[in-house]
Symmetry: C2
Subunit: 340 residues, 2 copies
């Protein structure tokens, strides 16, 4: 018995995986990315930097641009194209968030009022368009048609994924496969492009570009699966984070898909009432969390995430060991173990 | 007296300027543009071609892509890059319209229900994003960084113009200069880019590229001025076209700016009530039309348009005479004389 207690103690003292090693590796570059973002979101139309700055300054992990910087480091890149391109990636992400919040009618993001709450949907749509255009201007300044092809293709696929998500919203019969297609498009595609660009700027051979593409794709899927699990997590609520956004919007994510398929007819009636008809009462979110727990749907969503995380980790296999590889591997661990 | 009557008769029989000569000149190319549009708006997510097709099939004059085709003809271009790039221009325009209709909460466009009325704002925002991305993918396929720079720059300026328009909406003190800046960005910039690309693909010297840029810019300003005049025109109403959209949305266009500045205190109270507070009663649109007529604001808006049209016409001066130049000159006349 004593040994078990000891083990638990030890386990508690083990440092949780974090983004810190990657942050340490790319800190100087990331500062330059932030300056590039600030510089290029300027406009004589003051509402644009005001609104864009609200979201960009609100924090966020800068995970996607850090992937570009980390992948460039992994590929031994010593130029500075990765800085501008990491800023492009963040601009595309920010434009997507602005439009997402309009589409989802979200009032809060990262604990702050969303831009559409403060300035209205109209301004959010248009400033999103501006950031998206600005991102392409930056890519053109970089001048690589290969990069332009990757990022314009990713943007189209992200939009397709968002439309597909809109279609599956409120549809409790959505299959796990259809759900996976949505998250692959709306989330994993930009992770994939972000990482891949690291190999492209470093002019690495195709197998390394493919490896980073696979790394990004699988990391992105794992990231979104965990995100969708956290939205129903009791622990998340304990930490003071918002839970239940997907539930209140009627989004059909994997925890629900599993609980729906494993549930009884009575359970399914509950899901249909709350998520299809959006007829929700106080206590319904707790009831949803209870059902998801009962059918092991949260644990299994995390298990699925671990599967993709394992693929992402192995994708890094052909790169030489060292600080960049360790840092990117820890990003994978972080994306699965994170509580936020 | 008899001669005056004769003159009027003659005048009535003179053919109104139209887009027909340009249409005749570029018909084969335009058919290929339409095929390119149809081909590239496809997606496995069926809602995308469905929604995009609703707007694209709804007609529209295809004026912007025709400018690219006409300018290419003027420059003696014999390749086929202009077809794909004209499709890019139309995609950007279509994406802008989708987002505009969301921002303006419009229910009708070209006499049909808007996409946001049929499929909701959410789908319109996301399909707009898709078309915008698709446009950049097409440009990348063309492979010219020069063209990419022109069109990504134009897209950013269009978005800036749209945000600026949003800010001036409901502000009756908007100056003519501020209004001109808005229409230059939101409308003239794409006309300008569309025409300029004709010179770029034909690899013409800078003075011709500049001439077509100036042609497009000034044509675009004239086009928008007339558009804004038509929205208050009694003749437009006679033709069964919608009038009063700008009025009901509280958009501050030149007819209003002039009538406001030339009006009495009582008139200004009317404009403030109807356009700033959007407190509108039956008969207010007619009252607005009456005030605009009384102060010559409609005629003077058209006069301003004639000024820019003259510059556009002269910009074509350095090109050799012939069918393309005649056709493009008639486009200028059409944009000022049109009743729709």
């Amino acid at each position: 018995m004593a040994s078990v207690v000891e083990f638990k103690k030890l386990d508690n003292s083990i440092k949780k995986p974090s983004l810190d090693p990657l942050m340490k590796l790319v800190r100087t570059d990331l500062d330059r990315v932030n300056s590039t973002i600030l510089e290029h979101m300027q406009s004589p139309v003051h509402l644009i930097p005001q609104l864009a700055g609200h979201l960009i300054a609100a924090g966020g992990k800068r995970l996607r641009p850090m992937l570009t910087l980390g992948a460039a480091a992994l590929c031994g890149y010593s130029g500075d194209r990765h800085v501008k391109l990491a800023a492009c990636v963040e601009f595309i992400h920010t434009a997507t968030l602005l439009h997402d919040d309009v589409v989802d009618e979200s009032e809060l993001r990262r604990g702050q009022e969303t831009a559409n709450t403060v300035w209205g949907n109209q301004a959010s749509v248009l400033v999103g368009d501006f950031l998206f255009s600005r991102s392409f201007q930056l890519m053109v300044m970089d001048g690589s048609l290969h990069v332009l092809k990757i990022l314009s293709g990713a943007s189209a696929i992200i939009a397709e994924g968002e439309v597909q998500q809109l279609i599956t919203t409120n549809d409790t019969t959505t299959s796990e496969t259809a759900y996976l297609e949505v998250i692959q498009s709306k989330t994993a595609e930009l992770f994939s492009a972000a990482a891949r660009i690291g190999a492209v700027v470093a002019d690495r051979p195709k197998d390394e570009e493919d490896a980073l593409t696979s790394f990004g794709t699988n990391l992105g899927i794992a990231f979104q699966l965990v995100d969708d699990a956290l939205d129903y997590s009791a622990r998340q609520a304990e930490l003071g984070k918002t839970v239940g956004d997907d539930f209140s919007e009627g989004k059909i994510t994997l925890p629900v898909i599993l609980a729906f398929r494993r549930g009884t007819e009575v359970d399914r009636k509950f899901w249909k009432r709350t998520l299809e008809e959006l007829d929700q009462e106080p206590g319904d979110l707790e009831k949803a969390q209870e059902l998801i727990l009962k059918y092991g749907a949260l644990d299994d969503t995390i298990s699925r995430a671990r599967h993709y995380a394992a693929i992402a980790r192995d994708a890094l296999g052909l790169f030489s060991d060292g600080e960049p590889k360790n840092a990117l591997t820890e990003v994978v661990d972080f994306c699965v173990e994170r509580e936020f």
